[in-house]
């Protein structure tokens, strides 16, 4: 514990909406490398412990994308939520194939523990996000360990949902922007991703009170590519009785410009459960 704490290095700290936007670095045990993550501490955190909200970024992103583009700080400040945005994958292994495809490898951890070489030892993003990072945050920042939620963008949606479904009660609420992994992408390689098949997990999820908010831009390029098939998976979720409100937002695309407008809705959604 002490070692881990000592290993935490603050890279930057900026005041924002009365709170502090920090970026820190630490040596990850799970990922076997140095990992950066961003933490926003709302003003309320100066006097008391606050709930923690984990943001899982999409493909190709680092911790910087969310904190610089999503305009979330005001909502976080008002609701008194500590917001943690980790990087999306281990970096710097230069292993074979790591940078070959934008949608797998560096910047594309999919928040799962890989079972195959060459990534098996270090691409353990699921364990990192679900276990190591919360422990680190709980130990170093004024957060309430019992109150945490997860939300995400694009590729991160898979992670967010899996995290929630595999750990009933650990996350109070889930939400997503432009979810990629909910549909076909996962479906193409079902045997490999069985353990992370959200629909299967849903069946065994004990508590049905998992309220999921999803916002999707109608002009999203992935939507037109057919990588996002909302009608299909809404039908699937409907059949599974997973409570989702899916809002197709007219004219918005997949970018952070889209996230920035609806981020307040998502913060309210999480605050409803975290501050209840």
């Amino acid at each position: 514990y002490f070692w881990r704490r000592m290993a935490l290095t603050q890279i930057s700290s900026n005041k924002c909406f009365g709170g502090l936007q920090k970026v820190s670095e630490h040596d990850s045990v799970q990922l076997n490398c140095k990992m950066k993550f961003a933490v926003y501490l709302p003003p309320k955190a100066e006097t008391e412990k606050c709930p923690a909200l984990y943001w899982l970024s999409g493909l190709t992103c680092t911790e910087q994308n969310f904190i610089s583009k999503s305009s979330y700080h005001q909502a976080a400040s008002e609701h008194g939520l500590v917001v943690i945005a980790p990087d999306t994958s281990p970096r710097g292994y230069n292993s074979k194939g790591e940078d070959e495809s934008w949608d797998f490898g560096t910047g594309a951890g999919f928040y799962v523990d890989t079972t195959e070489d060459p990534w098996k030892t270090s691409y353990r993003m699921y364990s990192y996000v679900v276990e190591e990072l919360p422990q680190l945050i709980n130990a170093n920042f004024p957060v309430e360990p019992q109150r945490m939620s997860v939300f995400s963008h694009s590729m991160g949606d898979h992670g967010a949902l899996i995290c929630a479904l595999k750990n009933p009660g650990k996350y109070k609420s889930v939400s997503a922007f432009a979810p990629v992994s909910f549909s076909g992408y996962l479906g193409t390689d079902q045997s490999k991703w069985k353990a992370y098949d959200a629909t299967r997990l849903v069946k065994s999820y004990p508590g049905s009170q998992l309220d999921i908010l999803i916002d999707q831009g109608k002009d999203d390029q992935f939507l037109s590519d057919g990588q996002l098939l909302p009608d299909n998976f809404i039908a699937a979720w409907t059949e599974k009785k997973i409570p989702i409100v899916f809002q197709l937002q007219e004219g918005y695309d997949h970018s952070y410009y889209f996230i920035a407008i609806f981020i307040t809705d998502h913060f309210r959604h999480h605050a409803k459960y975290l501050n209840a």
Binding site: W237, P243, I244, V245, H269, K272, N275
Partner: protein, 750 residues
């Protein structure tokens, strides 16, 4: 008198020879009689002491006596003299105050014996005589003052007597005594103890004896003081009685005066009448007689003339005589034919006339009776004195007339046809008030009253209009709407005629410490009131109607809970195909289509869209309600302005904001419609109960899946006026509204 008083006062010493005791309490002497013996026992004690003192000739004792005298003097001045001087000064101009004293001797006090207690009320011999002088002249206030003056203590005399009482002791003093012989109760000189008669006696120091004597005297002083106060009170009482006597007799005097004057006037009038009648009669008779006399004289003249003419004829020539005799015979025949009236037309006798004195007798008879009372003065109606069926009428009599009873009459005031007054009711009472019952609520009655005694009734008082309180209003319990901060309550007047205003009374139920606290909203002109309340409480509400007569009794209570917003469906807006349940919270569209008769367009009733509105309280704030739906039913729920076009679908204009559910080919479609547009929103779990939050403050309308605490959608809407909940059923089924419930926590985030 002398003997009796002497015995009664226990005067065993016969110094009372000169004294005349007189019980001067003229009105109520019992108390006074009891006072005298008490005084006298005390007196005797003091007398004995004083005598002892004389014998012993003690210097200290003498001093004590002096003290006593001074104190008594002081008291006399305090309680009696000052006042008396004042009175005397005030009435300097009175006729002979000295005479006053002797005129009202019962109040004069004389002290003749210095050894006697000076408190007795004593009379000199002449006072007894004076008693018989009576009170004839006691009419004026001045004489009243004479009386007061008369019973005062005579200051000069008092002090003189005290002097006499004390001085001898001082003079008799030879040598200072230094001890006190208890047995003989006298101060002696110490050496006397050794021999003389004090040899065997108990002796105490003189100072000690002095102290005990002083104590005794002080005690007596206290008693005297009390006595003075009592006497003062008694004197005041006498004064009051005096004034009363004066007033009563004055009144009676006036009464007599007026009566006797009346009788005298009547008699004088009668006399005048009689004299006049008599004179007329006399004149008439004389005139008649005179006329007869004149007539008679004329006849006589004629006769004489005839006689002369005949005599002259007899001296005429034969031929002439014959001629004239024939003419004369005719004339005589005519004359003698005329009847000579020798009847006396008027009798000299005085015709007997009966004198009618009955009215005078009546007047005489009424001298000893009281006059009929003057008209009572009826009071205007006291505020809040009436009930729905009764009024309390009060009146008063300004004069002190004797009244045996009052007759109170009343009848309803008629607005129309003033000629046809209703019969008046009359009640007889002895008091100057009357509660008249069995009246009609909220109605004006006019009242008037007459006072009666043996002499008859007084004139009637003015007519006063009293009004009965209204009947209680009837709260329209089915139209009560409430929210956390307020309640809108409506009622029926309960009265045919208009009332002045209404009062709403609220008590908090279920709060024992505040259960007796009643808040009131007063002066409500209409049959509706929006009352501010505290959130989360239960209230019992009553309404009263008010008019000038007072408030009605409370209406039947209505219970209100300020938990959430409570409303009922508005039947006036209901599409003919919909049926609202008895509790006003459910709406059913049946399978069978009743042919709609009232499908002509209406401003209040939905005619195209099969919808109904709820009556939400017009209060800006938060309102939350839930709607239980069937997940296969096509329905629309939301809000709309009151003037929303009733011929359009809900959500098809900019006056309504709605969530519409359609179920087609086993797929649920949810639309959030305003002005015919909806966002593209997919909902995976069909809600069975929809929560609706209307937030005026933030101009928002939000929808929730109640069972999942799931937020579905939020409108941002400009609510420039009040909106009402609206519901429509696109196919047969049922919607059930749940309201009057507190807002779930998850809702508060939106």
């Amino acid at each position: 008198v002398e003997e009796e008083s002497g015995q009664e006062l226990g005067l065993d010493r016969s110094t009372a020879k000169d004294f005349h005791f007189y019980h001067m309490d003229l009105h109520d002497s019992e108390d006074r009689l009891q006072l005298f013996p008490e005084e006298n026992t005390r007196m005797r004690k003091e007398v004995v002491q004083a005598e002892m003192a004389n014998e012993s000739r003690g210097a200290g004792d003498g001093k004590a006596q002096r003290d006593l005298q001074e104190e008594v003097d002081e008291l006399v001045h305090l309680y009696g003299l000052e006042d008396d001087h004042e009175l005397g000064d005030e009435f300097v101009d009175e006729n002979m105050p000295r005479t006053g004293v002797s005129e009202y001797p019962p109040y004069v006090m004389k002290r003749r014996d210095p050894a006697r207690e000076q408190r007795d009320w004593r009379l000199s011999g002449e006072t007894v005589e004076a008693e018989d002088l009576g009170f004839g002249g006691w009419g004026s206030a001045g004489q009243c003052q004479d009386l007061r003056e008369a019973y005062r203590y005579t200051p000069g005399r008092a002090s003189e007597e005290y002097e006499c009482y004390v001085i001898p002791e001082e003079e008799d003093e030879e040598e200072a005594a230094d001890v006190f012989c208890v047995t003989c109760k006298t101060p002696i000189r110490a050496f006397q103890k050794v021999f003389d008669e004090h040899k065997e006696h108990e002796v105490i120091p003189l100072n000690e004896a002095l102290e005990s004597a002083k104590d005794e005297i002080h005690k007596n002083m206290y008693k005297l003081e009390k006595q003075i106060i009592e006497m003062e009170n008694f004197a005041n009482h006498l004064e009051e009685v005096f004034i009363t006597v004066e007033e009563n007799f004055g009144k009676q005097e006036q009464n007599f005066e007026s009566h006797y004057n009346e009788i005298l006037e009547t008699l004088a009038q009668k006399y005048e009448e009689k004299i006049q009648a008599l004179g007329e009669k006399k004149k008439e008779k004389l005139e008649a007689l005179y006329g007869q006399l004149v007539n008679c004289g004329e006849n006589l003249d004629t006769c004489k003339e005839l006689m002369e003419t005949i005599e002259e004829m007899c001296h005429e020539e034969k031929v002439d005589f014959i001629k004239d005799a024939v003419a004369m015979a005719d004339r005589l025949g005519k004359f003698l034919k005329a009847k000579t009236d020798v009847e006396i037309s008027a009798q000299p006798e005085f015709e007997d006339q009966t004198l009618d004195f009955s009215d005078v007798e009546q007047l005489m008879g009424s001298i000893n009776t009281i006059p009929a009372p003057s008209a009572p003065v009826i009071n205007p109606q006291a505020p809040n004195s009436a009930t729905g069926s009764s009024v309390r009428v009060c009146w008063s009599l300004y004069s002190d007339d004797t009244v045996e009873s009052y007759q109170l009459s009343y009848r309803p005031v008629q607005d129309s046809s003033p000629g046809k007054d209703q019969a008046a009711f009359t009640v007889t009472v002895k008091e100057t008030y009357c509660s008249v019952t069995n009246l009609v609520p909220n109605t004006q009655y006019e009242f008037w009253v007459t006072a009666h005694n043996r002499a008859g009734p007084s004139p009637s008082s003015e007519h006063a209009v009293y009004m009965t309180a209204p009947s209680p209003p009837i709260i329209k319990t089915k139209e009560i709407r409430s929210c956390e901060e307020a309640v809108l309550i409506c009622w029926e007047s309960g009265n045919l005629n208009p009332v002045d205003s209404y009062t709403v009374e609220l008590t908090q139920a279920e709060s024992p410490e505040a259960s007796d606290v009643t808040e009131s909203v007063v002066g409500i002109p209409t049959c509706e009131s929006l009352v501010q309340l505290q959130p989360g409480r239960s209230y019992i509400i009553y309404v009263r109607a008010l008019n000038t007569g007072g408030p009605s009794v409370r209406s039947e209570p209505a219970a209100v809970h300020t938990i959430g917003s409570y409303f009922r469906l508005n039947k006036d807006t209901c599409h003919p195909w919909l049926i609202i349940s008895e509790d006003g919270l459910s709406v059913v569209r049946s399978e069978r289509r009743i042919p709609a008769r009232d499908l002509s367009s209406s401003d209040t009733r939905f005619t195209r869209c099969v919808a109904v509105m709820g009556n939400l309280i017009p209060v800006r704030g938060h309102h939350y309600w839930e709607v239980e739906v069937d997940e296969h039913l096509d329905y629309t729920v939301g809000v709309a302005f009151e003037d929303v076009t009733k011929q359009e679908d809900l959500g098809a204009n900019c006056l309504s904001w709605c969530m519409r559910h359609t179920f087609a080919s086993s797929r649920h479609k949810y639309e959030f419609l305003h002005n015919r547009t909806t966002p593209d929103i997919r909902i995976t779990v069909p809600p069975k109960k929809i929560g609706i939050l209307l937030d005026y403050e933030n101009s928002k309308l939000s929808f929730f899946n109640v069972d999942l605490s799931q937020h579905l959608y939020t409108f941002s809407c400009q609510l420039h006026e009040f909106v009402h909940p609206c519901f429509s059923l696109e196919n047969p089924g049922c919607l059930k509204v749940h309201n009057g419930i507190s807002m779930p926590k998850h809702v508060t985030f939106y």
